[in-house]
């Protein structure tokens, strides 16, 4: 696979940026990604959704005093907004000129997990998402502080129940175990005392705030330091610990390059991260530029998002239905803002089961034959209920290839773009599909090249980047 194609897939969600990476070079491409602007205007579908504690109270009152019909109606509107939020995000991933930021947002949202199913308030999920976007390349320590004080996280990890004298350890525990330093680097006492420091931190109009009557102002000892610590202090202390850079560095390497990152690389980049005072941008630059020089493709199983967005991009499908994308990745186990638990998606091998693989292949068949992916079709794939043939609307699909070449140049062109390695048998099969006397100038050459593309997408090698 060409480096530009590989890194387009790694840094974004498809091969779409390969030519830009080639043109600008990796470093400039990264610079543009860091400098990219993003939309800060609140999307219209959130206009009617409750935001302040007062509005929330009003909605709750309304629901309580309404007939079942109205209740249903309110619930329906909320669900629609939840779906709209995912759709809004997928459109960004798909359309951004420099999608690295959205990729990092996705990374962070799988690190600071907070599911909409539990949080329920769409506006808080949106706020959570915006914190991640603003800080995508920012400072890990600052980001941790902000997330700790987000309504979404406080709700998700039950800190509303964490009160002076009646401690709930959930947020305190995950802060250490999953968000920062990782298991083995703290004591149960640290968790207890951390929880005390977080007691009273509860939902507010503009992010979480301490409630005076339930906060705990006693002195607590945290990693050997004693004082009346609050949320920010906890984070400051955690970031003084020796092992703080490694967990997140390992996860970044895992997200972008290696399903099983070598431990020496984790230490190497992690130490650099500490030196950079936990600034994410220089860490990413160092990892990406140094890893770019290595031959390290084929170490990561594509996640469903990359799988489907790459497919749509390669087949040049116009009017991609973001709702269908949303449904597809959900069926593939990657529902946005809906991870199974606080640990987030495991990634790696867990992305693939035979069922999921079969659905990937079926989806490729579907799209390669010019049919469109929609929720109905996806449903039948899972339930096995047959659909009416008329439900399919077919459009012509094509993949990019140089019609000045011959069968072999076209095969290498596709392999360079799509496969990290080409086995002898795959090469033979492709040359069987596209024989030596294949004429690329034939007006219907597209059909045949799409068949080769379809074949490629079903190779095990295609599942890896």
């Amino acid at each position: 696979m060409k480096k530009s194609s590989l890194w387009s897939l790694r840094l974004g969600f498809s091969g779409k940026q390969a030519s830009t990476i080639e043109k600008l070079g990796l470093e400039k491409f990264l610079k543009h990604s860091y400098d990219s602007k993003f939309d800060t205007e609140m999307p219209a579908f959130l206009q009617d959704q409750p935001k302040t504690t007062l509005e929330l109270k009003q909605v709750r009152e309304l629901v309580k005093n309404s007939d079942p019909e109205t209740k249903k109606e309110i619930q329906k509107k909320e669900n629609q907004a939840t779906a709209a939020l995912k759709k809004w995000w997928i459109a960004k991933m798909r359309n951004d000129e420099f999608p690295l930021r959205e990729n990092m947002v996705c990374f962070w949202h799988n690190h600071f997990v907070s599911t909409s199913q539990k949080v329920k308030i769409n506006y808080w999920i949106y706020q959570h998402n915006m914190i991640l976007r603003e800080n995508a390349f920012g400072n890990f320590k600052d980001l941790t502080k902000q997330i700790l004080k987000s309504n979404a996280m406080v709700r998700y990890l039950d800190n509303g129940d964490n009160k002076k004298g009646k401690i709930n350890e959930n947020l305190s525990r995950e802060l250490l175990e999953l968000f920062t330093i990782g298991i083995g680097n703290y004591t149960e006492e640290d968790i207890k005392n951390g929880a005390k420091a977080l007691a009273g931190l509860n939902i507010g109009d503009d992010g979480a705030v301490y409630r005076k009557n339930i906060e705990d102002n006693s002195d607590k000892t945290y990693f050997g330091k004693t004082g009346n610590w609050k949320a920010d202090d906890l984070v400051d202390i955690i970031f003084e610990q020796k092992n703080i850079p490694y967990l997140i560095t390992r996860k970044i390497l895992k997200w972008f390059i290696y399903d099983n990152p070598p431990e020496d690389l984790v230490i190497y980049y992690g130490d650099y991260f500490r030196k950079q005072k936990f600034e994410i941008e220089p860490l990413l630059t160092k990892i990406f530029t140094e890893e770019f020089k290595k031959e390290n493709s084929g170490n990561k199983i594509k996640d469903p998002l990359v799988y489907i967005l790459q497919l749509c991009d390669e087949l040049q499908i116009e009017n991609v239905d973001d709702v269908a994308i949303m449904a597809f990745i959900k069926q593939q186990g990657m529902d946005l803002y809906n991870q199974v638990n606080v640990k987030g998606w495991d990634g790696g091998n867990s992305w693939l089961t035979s069922q999921i693989y079969l659905q990937r292949n079926n989806t490729s068949d579907l799209l390669c034959s010019g049919k469109s992916l929609n929720r109905k079709v996806l449903k039948t794939m899972v339930n096995g209920v047959e659909k009416e043939k008329s439900e399919y609307e077919k459009t012509a699909v094509k993949v990019v290839f140089d019609s000045n070449g011959n069968n072999k140049t076209i095969i290498s062109e596709l392999s360079d773009r799509l496969l990290f390695s080409v086995s002898n048998s795959a090469q033979k099969d492709m040359e069987n599909l596209l024989k030596y006397d294949f004429d690329p100038k034939d007006p219907h050459a597209d059909f045949a090249v799409v068949r080769v593309f379809n074949y490629i997408t079903k190779l095990p090698e295609y599942q890896l980047i």
Binding site: D259, G298, N299, K300, I301, N349, L352, T353, S354, Q355, Y357, L358, N361, N362, D365, S369, G370, K371, E386, K387, K389, Y392, K394, N407, S421, S425, K428, D429, N432, L433, L434, K435, Y436, D437, F438, D439, D442, P443, H444, F447, A448, R451, N454, Y455, K458, L459, P460, E461, Q463, L464
Partner: protein, 388 residues
């Protein structure tokens, strides 16, 4: 209750449309079937098989005149019949013909022939005119109309790549890369290990995801191989197809191929080797089915994308046009259809076709599948006198 009765009953209770794919229903009420279900097995010879050295006009002096280097000796050819005879390697083809189970259809091709392997295979697989294009195969279109919704095992393709002939709007066929895999299902998966553990992981999963594998397992469990097949890939594929047929897998179409017929050079020895493989594999398959008393239900069709130039070129031949097709089993009349190749009336050195391959397709669809071939855009009249 046997399967056929069951189908008829189900058809009655449900109007025949709700539960079963329509071709299943069609079987219940079909009267001309002797025993069970009809299917067609295609054996595609890739590369352009030299028809003139396969079914040989050994009595025609022009044959020896034009093929100074590669003509086969009059005394070597077998199964002489009206001036035509088989390549010595095809001794069992001659035997099958003598048994009345093999028909040769001579000079099969299509107008405006194309000599590109790629394109000519496309034409045979889509059954279009040579200047028309369609993205679905002829069997794929047939299965689309025959199956309600989709039926993963309506067609079985034994190859490492999907087959355009079977490609339809719905996925009504599966490609089985390695039949051996199905025999060891519950055991440890056989995966050639690479140096990349991630790739090995994906390969293992890839091996476990053939849709329809349950039906295949069931059919395999119900049958076994009774005779011994040679150890070639084609034999293995045919042996496996025989097991599925005997195990009552309800597939309408099986498709497999044999490579290596592009004999530009060193033709005599290459061709001999290839035809020996073809002969031995097909004869084992034939004997197997005959023993199981299923031959009347199974029609084997052997064809290639084109024949080869009449005049030889050095020790080989160049791409040509018309060539014979072979039909085995399925109650065919065991005869020779069409005139002997006319070596005196050539088109730029190539044989002129007399029977359009789509006429053969039409005949197969009409007489074996009880299907109106015009529904998939075949306008040619069926070949007459092919089936009893």
């Amino acid at each position: 209750m046997n399967r056929r009765n069951f189908l008829t009953l189900t058809g009655t209770f449900t109007g025949g449309m709700l539960v079963l794919p329509s071709f299943l229903h069609a079987f219940g009420s079909q009267s001309n079937l002797i025993n069970g279900e009809q299917c067609i097995v295609f054996v595609q010879l890739n590369g352009g098989n030299d028809g003139l050295n396969t079914f040989i006009p050994y009595d025609d002096p022009l044959y020896y005149e034009l093929r100074t280097k590669i003509a086969l000796n009059k005394d070597a050819v077998v199964g002489k019949n009206k001036g035509m005879a088989f390549h010595p390697s095809l001794k069992d083809f001659a035997q099958m013909q003598q048994n009345g189970d093999l028909t040769v259809i001579q000079n099969v091709g299509y107008p405006e022939p194309i000599r590109s392997h790629f394109r000519s295979q496309e034409i045979w697989q889509t059954a279009t005119d040579s200047n028309k294009y369609i993205n679905e195969g002829w069997l794929g279109r047939f299965l689309d109309l025959q199956c309600n919704g989709h039926q993963a095992t309506a067609g079985i393709n034994l190859d490492s790549i999907d087959n355009l002939a079977l490609k339809g709007v719905e996925p009504n066929f599966i490609t089985v890369k390695d039949p051996d895999r199905f025999k060891v299902k519950s055991k440890e998966e056989n995966v050639t290990l690479s140096k990349n553990p991630h790739l090995d992981f994906v390969r293992k999963i890839a091996n476990s995801v053939t849709e329809g594998s349950d039906e295949i397992q069931k059919a395999l469990a119900k049958s076994k191989t009774e005779i011994s097949y040679p150890k070639t890939e084609l034999s293995k594929n045919l042996e496996w197809i025989a097991r599925l047929i005997k195990g009552n897998l309800n597939s309408k179409v099986y498709y497999t191929s044999l490579n290596g017929f592009d004999t530009h050079d060193n033709q005599l020895s290459i061709h001999e080797r290839k035809l020996t493989d073809l002969n031995d594999s097909i004869y084992s398959f034939y004997s197997d089915l005959k023993e199981a008393q299923l031959l009347q239900n199974v029609t084997v069709v052997v064809f290639s994308e084109f024949g080869r130039r009449v005049k030889d070129n050095g020790n080989g031949t160049d791409h040509g046009t018309a060539a014979p097709m072979f039909i085995i089993g399925g109650n065919n009349k065991g005869t020779i259809l069409g005139k002997n190749p006319n070596l005196a009336d050539l088109d730029n050195g190539d044989l002129k076709h007399e029977i359009d391959f789509r006429s053969v397709y039409a005949s197969l669809l009409k007489e074996k599948m009880n299907f109106d071939y015009s529904k998939i855009g075949i306008a040619n009249k069926p070949v007459s006198g092919l089936f009893a």
